[in-house]
């Protein structure tokens, strides 16, 4: 598994699981488990490129074990995917592997965890603590567990949490053969490089990252605000190691302030997320092992804000079906003249730099929980750029489920000879079918 993320972390998580399980010998520990085993198939519209895989067949599994005794809790939740047709797509990582003490007002959690700071369905500018597995759904990339310590205190109608994150967790990039690759056919994304606040480029994954998050319920509204200082895993600088002729992502230090909002107003659910990111001003020192393909990404002011707004409304039909309509929009505000700032930088910062999403979730309200999901995301500044999804899922009996989906991407590159980032997903239209056994 070439993409095996931080093997030590994963196996430490596994060890944690074993310890948790071993505690079951003591009958005072209450143990619960759940998980799923899936067979996944994915077929792309052929691109006539022998260097890419137009079909994927994979087995995937997720296991969660919870153990509890008094004020103490242990959890392990890990994910494994083995792709038979593209070994580079195979991955295994802990999503959660933590120990927690929970008192009346305080709780302390130590281990790998998923932090969710989101309110909207498609755009998630505030929800950036965890690294992502980029060979999954673009509107909801799967999260990789982040090693952290969290101290939480009840406060009013909510809580305040402080986080320490001492380890830089890299995203998992699509393989060189993947149709969803960011680097192009045959070019692997090498290991992560990290820009320190002193301007050094390093492979050292240890460093200080922290966050504080305040969460409150006020009447019909749920609000949260945060300050986060970490390595930005969403806007990597792509560069080359000239000593090995390898491509690597470089992640920069960033300070983010942001928040989320959800409120029910007469059956309508209003949602919002925002974030403003300040990048460290230190110039990157020259490195013999990393040369940025576009040096401006290291020298330009790339501070920016992102705001997402959404509305959701559900109606029941006389035949028993329920429709949920979702409308969301997101805009990036970069530094530069006027509110829009530098358009080029905005486009480089986010695939959803000024986009709207319209969606419909149709629940048939039957015993199989059959649901149809249809949505499309359109770039308001370039209507040619859009992607969409038609999905159907249902339960088969009480332990199996089936998911089928059609997804299309129309992201024509500005420079056809040199597509960048998500432009490489242009025409990576795909049909997916997943059969899953839940336990």
């Amino acid at each position: 598994m070439s993409q095996l993320l931080t093997p030590k972390a994963f196996f430490a998580g596994g060890l944690f699981c074993l310890i948790a399980l071993s505690t079951t010998a003591n009958a005072q520990w209450a143990v619960e488990s759940r998980g799923e085993l899936g067979l996944e198939t994915r077929v792309f519209q052929p691109d006539d490129n022998p260097g890419t895989n137009d079909q994927n067949v994979a087995a995937a599994a997720r296991l969660q074990v919870d153990s509890r005794k008094g004020d103490l809790r242990l959890r392990f939740r890990g994910f494994v995917r083995h792709d038979q047709t593209d070994r580079g797509r195979s991955a295994a990582f802990p999503e959660e592997a933590w120990a927690q003490w929970k008192g009346e007002r305080f709780s302390l959690t130590v281990g790998w965890d998923m932090v969710t700071w989101t309110a909207t369905e498609a755009f998630h500018p505030a929800d950036v603590v965890n690294a992502r597995y980029f060979d999954s759904n673009v509107e909801n990339f799967e999260k990789v567990g982040e090693p952290l310590a969290q101290l939480r205190m009840k406060l009013g109608q909510g809580n305040i949490s402080a986080y320490l994150m001492p380890y830089f967790t890299s995203p998992i990039f699509p393989s060189a053969q993947s149709r969803l690759s960011f680097t192009g056919p045959g070019v692997s994304m090498g290991g992560a490089r990290w820009l320190t606040r002193d301007g050094d480029i390093t492979r050292d994954r240890l460093g200080a990252q922290w966050a504080v998050n305040l969460q409150q319920t006020v009447g019909d509204a749920d609000l949260s605000f945060h300050v986060l200082q970490n390595q930005d895993r969403y806007n990597p600088v792509i560069g080359i190691d000239p000593t090995r002729l390898e491509v690597h992502p470089l992640f920069k230090p960033v300070t983010q302030i942001g928040g989320t909002y959800q409120q029910v107003i007469e059956g309508l659910i209003a949602k919002a997320e925002f974030a403003y990111r300040y990048y460290d001003r230190s110039d990157a020192k020259p490195s013999p092992t990393f040369i940025a393909l576009d040096p401006r990404q290291l020298t330009e002011n790339r501070d920016h804000g992102v705001a997402a707004l959404g509305l959701e409304y559900s109606v029941s039909h006389d035949i028993g079906w329920e429709s949920t309509f979702i409308v969301e929009g997101q805009s990036v505000f970069a530094e530069g003249k006027g509110l829009n700032g530098n358009a080029r930088i905005r486009h480089e910062l986010n695939i959803f730099q000024r986009d709207v999403m319209g969606g419909l979730r149709l629940a048939f309200q039957d015993a199989a929980d059959s649901t149809l999901l249809l949505f499309a995301v359109v770039d308001l500044e370039n209507a040619e750029q859009m992607f969409g999804n038609l999905g159907y899922n249902r339960r088969l009996g009480e332990e199996w489920s089936l998911k089928a989906g059609l997804r299309f991407f129309n992201l024509p590159p500005k420079n056809p000879d040199m597509p960048v980032g998500f432009e490489r997903w242009h025409k990576a239209n795909q049909f997916t079918l997943t059969l899953m056994r839940h336990f």
Binding site: R34, E36, Q64, E96, K102, E104, M114, T116, T118, N140, K154, Q157, G158, N159, Q215, T217, D220, D222, Q262, Q263, V264, E266, G267, L268, I269, E312, Y313, S314, V315, S316, G320, E322, Q365, D366, A367, A368, D369, R395, G397, E398, E399, S401, M436, H438, F439
Partner: protein, 269 residues
Amino acid sequence: MTKHRLLRPFPLTLSAIALLSGVFGNSEDANAESPEEKGLKIAQSLDRANEGYASESSTMEMTLVNAHGDKTSRKMKSQILETKDDGDKSRIEFEWPADVKGTRMLTWTHKKDDDDQWLFLPAIKRVKRISSKNKSGSFMGSEFTYEDLGSQEVEKFKHKFLADEMQNGRKIWKMERIPTAADSGYSKQIAWVDREYNNPIKIEYYDRKGELLKTAAFSDFKKFGKFWRLGKLEMKNHQTRKYSTLVWHDRKVGVAVDNALFESDELEN
């Protein structure tokens, strides 16, 4: 107040009839009242009679049966917390089918306003606020709607006393309830309330066109302290010929529960 009955279904707002003899004596004494006044008094007294249960927990098994007789099951755990000045709070954790295991729903009911509801989705570890406005949606694909299982505050209905009846040797009050919410799935409900159990033994639900839609039958009552609770509920849909049953196990009334569990930010714990 005892109004929130999500999964402690139905009868709490119609449920204090054991004390009604002290309030109304017998129905003849109240003849001077209009049916509406008497219906409201009964509903209010039932409500008061169920005050003081403090909290409740149980596990539940729901069976869905379609028109061909095919069965599927759902399992869940429920905890309810009584509050003093507003509707009650409830927390439900779904245990079966396996794909929804770990999903949790928190409801804060209110006397007049719409309930507050949150859903915890374990797959993405997210607490999502949801709207309680869509009352006529099916609960987990069953014949029960959120309206059936949700808040039954006295203030959310217009009540009308219809008749005194005897059924199987038991004294029954026949009542009419008309939902005040414009978005209710029902035009009216007819309830047969057992005076000893402080609960309905049957409710007929009429759709927005006035046609009989469903009938709920309540049975297997047990007494917990001074409170009667049903053990089985069956809902038949006359229009689709489907039916669903809900059976309670391990019910505990008045046990201590952690109040913090009923906060939205605690749903993931």
